[in-house]
Every structure is written in C-alpha cells, then in structure tokens.
Assembly symmetry: C2
Homo-oligomer: 217 residues x 2
C-alpha cells in the first residue's frame, strides 16, 4: 500500500511520461505536484526504494511495471468516480475533478469493481478519457489537439487535456462540449486564435485553449 502522496506522484509521473514512457524530469514533476524540486527528489527516492520507479540521478524518473499498474488503478478509480458524480449525482463536468482526486485514493478493488458495474462499465469519463478495466487495460484513443486542424477542416470534440473548472466552464459557455462537430473557419495569423463554427454559430478560442481541446475525425 501507498500513501496518498505517493499515489499522487505515481499518477503525475504516469501523465507526464506520456505514451512513449519517456523519463520525467525532477523539475517537471515538482511543478505538476505544486512543490519544490527537492521535495520531488525526496519522494522519487522513496518510490524508488519501493520499486515503483526507476531513477538515475540527473536523468529523470520512469515508472516500473509495478508503478504503472499502481498508477493505472488510481486513474481507473478517478475516472469511475467522475462518471458517478456526473451521471448519478448530477454534478457538471467542470465540478468533478477535485472530488475525484480525493475519491481515487479509497483503497478497495471490490469497491471499484462494484462501482464500475453500477455505472454500466462506462468506456470513458465525462472528459472523454478512457477508463481502464479492472485488469488495467484500456485503449488510448488517437485524438489530437484542435490547433492541429487546418482552415476548413472539420472534426468532433472527443476530449480535453486540461480539467480545471475555469477551463471547462469556458468551453461549456461556448458550447464546446463532447460529441460536438466543429469546423475551422479561420486561423488568425496574429496570435493563432481559431475561429470555428459549431451548431451553426461562430466562436473564437485562443491558441492556448485550442491546444487543450481534443479532436477525432
């Protein structure tokens, strides 16, 4: 068993490490955890002693097999609780992240399994992220950022890569929610802002925002 803090670090390393499982730098990890580099080093050492991560000083950190397994189970619980909060307790998609950050640490494989069944074995969470099954298997969907689209191209919003309330509330206000079709009307040369058509109306998003909107064709 791990502490909450250890679990949060594992999750952070998993996310920062990406699909290609590249080493995560101490600074990146510290920033993600909103702490200092020295604290990150401390924790990495502890996780290393527990064989959850591999760490070569100055060369960054990667998860071991057992670290990945652990991280994926926490992510599974996080996403299941998000579905519960939205589908059953009528929370909005922008209100569930912080609560799920707490609930994900409840330690009971049976609970996760029962919750999964109760929710009807959902495939994705309210932000479009895939939910690992009890064995930890899940497909990473091939989504890409909205800012990769060219003028006149179309796509479907299928995910977001940022879960803050402020960001999600903004998308909601513009009508940019999961499943919506969009079409790129124009890309401003000045700062890369994107004008797009959605539900027949036009909306503009900054380049920074567009990066965190994920699209499938």
């Amino acid at each position: 068993m791990q502490t909450f803090s250890e679990e949060n670090y594992l999750k952070a390393i998993f996310h920062l490490s990406g699909t290609d499982k590249k080493p995560v730098s101490t600074n990146a990890l510290a920033e993600k955890m909103k702490t200092k580099a020295s604290s990150a080093t401390d924790m990495v050492k502890r996780l290393s002693e527990k064989n959850l991560v591999e760490h070569t000083p100055y060369q960054g950190v990667t998860l071991t097999e057992s670290g990945i397994r652990s991280a994926v189970q926490i992510i599974r619980k996080h996403r299941l609780w998000e579905v519960f909060l939205v589908d059953k307790l009528e929370f909005k998609w922008d209100e569930v992240h912080d609560l799920a950050e707490e609930l994900e640490h409840i330690n009971s494989p049976i609970l996760a399994e029962r919750l999964d069944a109760f929710l009807g074995y959902p495939k994705t969470d309210p932000h479009g992220d895939p939910i690992p099954d009890k064995h930890g298997n899940f497909e990473e969907y091939k989504m890409f950022s909205l800012n990769k689209l060219n003028k006149a191209e179309t796509g479907i919003i299928t995910g977001v890569s940022e879960h803050s309330t402020a960001f999600l509330k903004h998308l909601e206000k513009l009508g940019l929610t999961l499943g919506k079709n969009i079409e790129i009307v124009d890309i401003l040369e000045f700062d890369g802002s994107i004008e797009l058509k959605i539900d027949g109306t036009h909306q503009t998003v900054s380049r920074e925002i567009s990066k965190h909107i994920l699209i499938s064709k």
Copy 2:
C-alpha cells in the same frame, strides 16, 4: 479543515461521550483509537488549540459546540456512504464499515447533500443508526440492549452497537437482522446466555452478543 486523524479522534470522543456528553478519559480514547495514551494526550492538545475540544489535564476531554458540529457531519457522511454501499452497490451490512471509515473523510458538503438526495434522504443506515440531516439534526431512537428484556418479553431488532464484520456476519447467520421480531424464551442462569425465538425457530446468543443487539418495543 481537519486532518483525517483529527476527524477520527473527534468522532471517537463523540461516541465515547454518549448522550449525556460526559468527559472522555485519555485511556478510553487511546483504546478506541488503538493507540497509546501519550498519543491521545498529544492529539487532545492539538484539538484543544483549535477549539474543538475542552480539556482539563487529568479530567478528561469534551467536545465544544464546534467539535460536536464537526463530528456530526462526519457521522452523517459515514452513514450516508453505508447506505450507498448497501442499497446501490449491493454490499452486505457487515462489509461496509471500513469502507465508510475512509469515505467519511471526503470533504465536500455539496457531495454529502447530493448523495443524500440520490439515496432518497434515508433516515437510518444499514445498522439502524439515525442519519443526521445537513443541519446536523437527528433523533436518537430510544433503543435498548436485548439483555434488558425479561423472559417471555418480545421486541423488534432495530439496531446494533457494534459494527465489526465478525459480529454482523454472526447475527446474519442466526437470522437476527433489522426489523425482525424476537421473543425471549429463556435466560440461562449460568452465564446469562439468551435463548430466543425468531421466525419460528430458536436461537441462542451469549450475553456479550445480546448487549450489542438493540431492541425497540
């Protein structure tokens, strides 16, 4: 905000202090928390600095108004989660205590409120304990221990004062579940064991067990 540990101590003091709110001794508190007296003293000092308890050295500890409010909200969450686990996730009444001990610390009044609504504002948890409403109000039912009944008297099982899996599994096996009518057939002089009639059959429970079965008339 309190730490998990502080919350657990508050809850322990609330329960040990009883309906008459009498002071709780350091030893009793330490025993309940499965820790040492010195640790309990330390924690009591910390809670005292936060004005959650009143402590006169060597004279025991009582909750302040604010301590009671805090404890009752934790108990509310504990009992709501137990209802959720039994009613929605099909856990048995003997499987939910430890999970609820973790879930009760999730810090969100809105979550508690939504959960309450989702469950249909239940009045009692799976063990017959009353669930405080969001203002912290609840009726203590006037239940008494089974061993207070005399030969030939009858009653209805409406609660238990012990929540361990072992105890509850045993009751389940004997058919001694909430809502059942019982009649005292005999009380053994030797050790106070009680023979009772339930659903037409006879069962015997030790005096120790009978103390933790709560009855209404």
